[in-house]
Amino acid sequence: MKRICLVLAILVLLAPVLVAGAQEPVTLTVLVEQGGLWLQEAAAAQFEAETGHTVEFVNVPYGSVFDRLSAEMATGGSAFDVATIDVVWMSHFAPFAESLDDLFTDEVMDDLFASLVADAQIDGVFIGMPTWANTEIIFYRKDMWENADEMAAFEAEYGYPLAPPATWQEFTDMAQFFTRDNDGDGEIDMYGTDVKGGVADFEWMIAVLQAGSPGVVLDAENNIIIDNDEHVAGLEYYISHHCDMNVAPPNVNEIDWGVAENLFYQSQTAMFRFWGHAYRLTRGDSPIADLVGAAPMIAGPGGIGAIPGPWFNIVPKTSQNKEVALQLVQYLYDHNAMGIEAPLGLAARKSAYAQYADVEGFENLNPLLETLDSPQTIGRPAVADWQQIADEILGPIGSDALTCEHDVAELLAWGRAELEAMGYE
């Protein structure tokens, strides 16, 4: 009897400790846009099953992620335990985000692309865990590139075999070769490629990196480099397909990503540079549904280069469930490969991409891997006013350059003056 009483007494004494050890199930609220929902819901469901916690996604339109989180930041509170945000908002939300330094072990950093590790930190503190990374690669028509007559004709004209373009020169040659007036009515029926003047603020930056610039607009110390030789070369190459060669639809200012995608999938362009996810989203009823090939982004004098478009999971400092939120962020990283089965088919970890790279239907992943892993694939500067720079400086420079009436160096000198007026040196 005494023993029983003793055991009971010990249990009563230990009860608070035992209860404290077992985590109460909580509901985590996660702010996402559609891509974040698609890519993370499967892993989140598994997290729920394994831990007993609940994950509730709040899905809002793309631009509203920024608006909604900004409102929460301004009020000093948050309804969200985790938010999945675009890389361009990282600086803005940095003061609001919990440090994730503990999650970035050597093993984690080895499995992430260098540009993502760089983008994940603001002022030396890791605030976001990459959840997926996208970037532009080359899309081309396999039926044209693998056609024996086309191959022979191309080699006869340019002196080297027809294959997916790997360099600036090859891209230009092939764009010229496939720009055609098929019915002889004097109008071009298929262009070799496109020039996306509608998103000029982003597109010409890619060529700048391919030219070998150490960064876009600002260097790692936020010094102005917008007028360096590589920016000049990149901008000249970007406009050359429109201004000098007529190998792209002439209404460049109307062509943004959506229009460019439609032009290609409706057989009006032979190849184009586009976000890698599109390969998996090719519609079955497209006239070229089974004819799309993917290749790494082209290389300029500096090598293969692109701007990554990663999204990060951050934990707001005001989260009421911080500990569990960090567990979820870690879990989503650990199960990052599950996102590849989702409609966008993207992930952040090299190992996740490698796992699917040789699986049929995922032919875009090796080009994505190679492009994302290139040293010249570099993120945009982590400055809070980046969007202002893009809207008020990079966009106008791109648009003016595409009028083909301006001296590129003069436009970039204007860009430097504008940056200096913003306080950069």
Binding site: E33, Q34, P61, S64, R68, A79, G258, R283, G309
Partner: protein, 275 residues
């Protein structure tokens, strides 16, 4: 006679042109919703569908959140309408019946509140609603919508109240009615036409509102405008789905407006012909 016929023809043509200009975007919206997804993306775009397709409408069933959002929009719009009318009727009555200068000053202040952009009050509203525990509730969003609608309601109803003869109310007071009783039993029934018009405008304002609904809702009470906007993602716009939902979203408003057409016109012209 000839000049009268010519001017009438010219006027008819002008009206037809205006109707065409205003109606074209909606006609194009309906046309796009009836195209196949591939057809909807054609470059250059075609005015009419190559082949009529209801695929976009059929696909709506795949999005249960969107279906729920229509119900949320209806509940919030109705709640907002009830709250606004309950607040605006006594306020408008007071403006119409008490002191000319004080009433005008009040109406001026009310007008100023209409000049404040909603984005400026979004965050303060968020803080208030969070403190009240009303985030992601129908009542919270409806109250926020009422902050836009109450000034509009007071303005509209004050015009109606002013057009009601004071003698009616005085007769009721002589018969022993209190002021509040006179408002309930005499003024409100007489002003019912104006109240109906105000309710229509308030309902429509809430039905279409985006910003406050975005800030104050999460998963529970997401409204239709937000659910529709979600089909514009970072990389693409799902035109077919968006246009089919937009058409469905517009139906209640169109039907409601057609049914209440006469009352709406009465509301728009109130006070226009005095004396």
């Amino acid at each position: 006679m000839k000049s009268s016929l010519a001017s009438r023809t010219l006027l008819t043509l002008l009206v037809a042109l205006i109707v065409l200009v205003y109606g074209f975007p909606y006609a194009f919206l309906v046309s796009t919703s009836l195209k196949s997804p591939q057809d909807a993306l054609a470059i250059p775009p075609t005015l009419l569908p190559q082949q009529l397709s209801l695929e976009n409408y059929a696909n709506i069933g795949e999005h249960p959140t969107v279906q729920r959002s229509f119900g949320n929009s209806a509940i919030i719009a109705l709640l907002s309408t009830v709250i606004t009318i309950a607040l605006a009727v006594p306020a408008a009555y007071a403006v119409a019946r008490y002191g000319a200068w004080a009433g005008k000053a009040f109406l001026f202040v009310v007008l100023i509140t209409r000049l404040i952009p909603p984005v400026a009050v979004g965050i303060p509203l968020f803080v208030i609603m969070r403190a009240l525990g009303l985030i992601d509730t129908h009542l919270g969003v409806a109250l926020a919508h009422s902050t836009i609608s109450v000034p509009l309601g007071i303005w509209l109803l004050a015009s109606f109240m002013e057009s009601i003869p004071r003698e009616l109310e005085e007769a009721a007071r002589v018969d022993g009615c209190s002021r509040f009783g006179a408002l309930l039993r005499i003024i409100i029934p007489v002003a019912s036409g104006g109240i109906a018009v105000t309710a229509i405008f308030v309902f429509l304002a809430s039905w279409n509102e985006f910003l406050f609904s975005l800030l104050l809702s999460s998963t529970g009470v997401k409204t239709a405008p937000i659910a529709i906007a979600e089909f514009k993602t970072q990389y693409s716009i799902q035109w077919g789905t968006m246009t089919s939902l937009a058409v469905l979203f517009s139906f209640p408003v169109i039907i409601f407006s057609l049914l209440m057409q006469k009352r709406i016109i009465a509301g728009l012209t109130v006070g226009a012909v005095k004396g």
